[in-house]
Amino acid sequence: MRRIQRLLGSAGFGSALSSVVAILVGLAVGFIILLISNPRQAVAGLGTIAAGGFSGGMKGVGQVLYFATPLIMTGLSVGFAFKTGLFNIGASGQLIVGAFTGIYVATNMQWIPGPLLWLVALLAAAAAGAVWGAIPGLFKALLNVHEVIACIMCNYIGMYGVNFLIKNSNTYDSLKNQTVDVAQAAIPKWGLDKIFFTMKGKYADAASVNGGILIALALAALMYIVLNKTTFGYELKACGFNRSASRYAGINEKRSILFSMVIAGTLAGAAGGLMYLAPAGGQHITVVEVLSAQGFNGIPVALLGLSNPIGIIFSGLFVAYISQGGYYLQRMDYMPEIIDIIIAVIIYFSAFALLVKNLIASGTKKLAISREQAAEEADK
């Protein structure tokens, strides 16, 4: 009993509870939109959303894990920057630059033996993301240009630059207006397809999930350790909280800013690699003038996870789960646009986790006080 009480009173539980409450509020508002657009199927619709990936059996769960992979990665990217006082709104550009670099390496360096090719391509993607993150980092550290401005510019330069490079390199499949298949460098499945599948007659219909989710989980654990246990993380966080005090303490705050952005860029670049280093039926970069949504979705994922790497794992899974629920909602009488709106609303409200956290904190305090008063009056 004591242990449960201590668990309930701990800071970690408070944070998790606030995220859950924020999600419930989001679901409630989503339900209202369901009611307005199609009252007849609203309850069933909400059920479908709430059931999320589970509507599709084990394959559905696998799909959730698959779509969660880049979200966790960009969430880590944005969350890491948040923890160090920077707003990395440039995950989108870092992701696409990383993705292209990965595909380019996979297409042009096929002399590398098969089992290693995906790894080299993924590392190249991460390195390219690091460079793309370093640019706003350098501008911020040396010229005090706000990172949001530099990141937004880099998003567009990255997106148009990659479009240009795809069209002018051997990675272009002009028939489909997208990148070529890089099946030879696809992220290995590591047996996950043997777990996440549903039987269709005699055939096992496997989910798209691959080893990327394990890589993302490992990186989240690594980020948690770096931020909370190492002196390097201590320096970065100190700079995020108070640049002047960090300088006073002898920390090189310019270097810290640059490192923060490089790490954030690395994570987003790797996200791009994990997304697009896929088998023939998987995702390809299409040459359109749209910024990568996964990059931006890293922001709500980081907010919902309160920038804590472990929290980000769960929030990334949640956003993928609810999106998958929206996908199954198409079976009912809902327009795809309405589904997108509902999903957006739920994610949007989820990002209020921090607000809810503060509300809960003041609420529990009041409760404790009134209990104490009641106890004292009982004593009298």
């Binding site: 246990k229 190492t230 002196t231 390097f232 201590y234 320096e235 966080k237 100190a238 909280f241 108070n242 002047s244 005090a245 960090s246 300088r247 006073y248 303490a249 002898g250 920390i251 090189n252 305090k365 006080i369 008063q373």
Partner: protein, 509 residues
């Protein structure tokens, strides 16, 4: 005399700490009632309860004998309660007059009418002797005038009960004298004043009665006329306090610990020399004080010495090695410690726990780092040791977030960190600003103890008492130049005042 405000059995809790514990206080009409207590004793909390900023857990407030419920500053205002905060709440790009009427302005047909307000403000300022320029911008007027604007704001709203939260902390000695006069005038006109302070001289000068708080509890209320300063300080601290610091004569070894040669610092904004050709030496085993009125280049001098800002020219030596171009980390490692002027901006990472702040400068040393990881066990051990040794009071021990600690305890934490590093040279900039007598005594003793261990201390202070009591040798800085170099034994406050005002130049430094 009738009672206007009674605060009965007020209790207010913050996480891990009871800021007010069953505090009772009554304020009579026309009196100046001082509220005395150490940092973190709960003075500001109690006044914030009266002003409606905090809701007390227990207790009630009576105005003219009737219970009142004060839910916020607006209710407090309606009840005639006004407050001058320690940090003024003024709009800097508004004029004096606009600031005074802000919130109760006279608007007709969507247009602001200031003519009547102007008449009223001028009348009020003459009645109480509060000289202000109604059309000057707040950003252009002195701190003293800003404070008078805050007082006029209360009078304009016809407040009867005026709360002053440490009003003298930001003023020059002349301005303090004026403020005391103004407070007397106000009570003569029937206003009642609650005066938060920890300066006993000021209480003796103006207050009628004094309520003393210690660790959130009310120690008692005394008549100031019948109580000595020593008695009041004993009530406040809970033990006897030495006003005169016991100090053996300095044993300056004659060995230079910090040497500055022809140092110049130029302002980036207007190109003026803020530190002008300054040279001096601090020896091992002495406390050298840089005195002067705020803004005469002391801050810039310290920034150049500690590496926070670059000097334009000149050389700095620590021991025998030149550190003019060294980084901050290199200077720290070479044995330079720095108690900074602004404890929130430079001294602490407010969102870090106390323990993380204690190792702010030493986290990279083997004592606290192994293979890139922080040695948390060592960090907590070391912090607990300093908490005990330096009597740092904090609700949750080493894990207390620095932001939630009182100013005095934040300062103690910084002093603990800097002195415990065993530096060769300690630069202390206004180390006791805003602290109570107990903490001031403690920090002064620590500085002297450091000196007696053979360390060199460079003290930068604006407080004449501190300058005269603590230091062995005094330099006076005026408009970026050192205008005097005197022995602390052979100089009077009056002489120092003349040097500081620039009306006299002493022996060439």
């Amino acid at each position: 005399m009738d009672t206007v405000i009674q605060m009965l059995h007020i209790t207010k809790d913050f996480p891990g700490i009871r800021a007010n514990d069953d505090v009772t206080l009554d304020l009579r009409r026309g009196e100046i009632h001082a509220l005395l207590g150490e940092n973190g004793a709960g003075k500001s909390t109690l006044m914030s309860v009266l002003f409606g900023l905090y809701r007390p857990e227990k207790g009630e407030i009576l105005k003219n004998g009737k219970p009142v419920h004060i839910a916020g500053p607006n209710e407090a205002n309606a009840l005639g309660i006004g407050m001058v905060h320690q940090h003024f709440k003024l709009v800097h790009n508004f004029t004096v007059l606009e600031n005074i009427v802000l919130g109760v302005e006279d608007i007709r047909g969507g247009v602001l009418h200031l003519a009547e307000a102007r008449k009223k403000v001028v009348a009020l300022s003459q009645q109480y002797g509060l000289m202000v320029e109604p059309d000057a911008r707040i950003s252009d007027v002195t701190v003293g005038m800003q404070q008078r604007v805050e007082i006029l704001k209360m009078l304009y709203r016809e407040n009867e009960i005026l709360i002053f939260d440490e009003p003298t902390a930001v003023l020059t000695p002349q301005e303090i004298g004026e403020l005391m006069k103004i407070m007397k005038n106000l009570t003569a006109e029937g206003k009642s004043i609650l005066f938060i302070t920890h300066k006993l001289n000021e209480i003796k000068q103006v207050a009628d009665r004094c309520t003393v708080l210690r660790k959130g509890r009310c120690v008692g209320t005394v008549d100031v006329a019948d109580t000595t300063k020593e008695q009041m300080s004993e009530m406040m601290v809970g033990r006897k306090v030495d006003f005169a610091i016991e100090k053996s004569p300095a044993h300056a070894s004659g060995k230079a610990a910090l040497r500055v040669e022809n140092l110049n610092v130029r302002s980036k904004r207007h190109g003026k020399l803020l530190v002008n050709n300054v040279s001096f030496t601090v020896h091992k085993g002495e406390i050298l004080c840089v005195a002067g009125i705020d803004g005469n280049g002391q801050s810039e001098l310290v920034y150049a010495l500690t590496g926070l800002a670059a000097a334009e020219s000149g050389r700095i030596f620590l021991g025998g090695t030149e550190i003019t171009l060294a980084t901050i980390r290199e200077r720290n490692n070479a044995g330079l410690a720095h108690i900074p002027e602004d404890r929130h901006k430079h001294g602490l990472v407010l969102d870090y726990p106390l323990a993380e702040n204690i190792i702010l400068k030493s986290y990279h040393k083997p004592a606290f780092r192994r293979k890139g990881f922080i040695r948390f066990d060592k960090m907590y051990q070391y912090t607990d040791k300093l908490i005990a040794a330096f009597d740092i009071r904090c609700g949750q021990g080493a894990r207390t977030i620095a932001r939630s600690m009182s100013g005095g305890n934040q300062q103690k934490a910084i002093v603990a960190r800097e002195i415990s590093e065993q530096p060769d040279v300690l630069i202390a900039v206004q180390p006791t600003r805003g602290l109570d007598v107990g903490a001031i005594e403690y920090i002064h003793k620590q500085l002297i103890a450091a000196r007696d261990q053979g360390k060199a201390v460079l003290l930068v202070s604006l407080e004449l008492d501190e300058v005269l009591n603590v230091s062995d040798r005094i330099l006076v800085m005026y408009e970026g130049e050192m205008v005097a170099d005197v022995d602390a034994q052979n100089v009077t406050a009056q002489e120092l005042g003349l040097y500081m005002a620039g009306s006299r130049k002493g022996a060439a430094v």
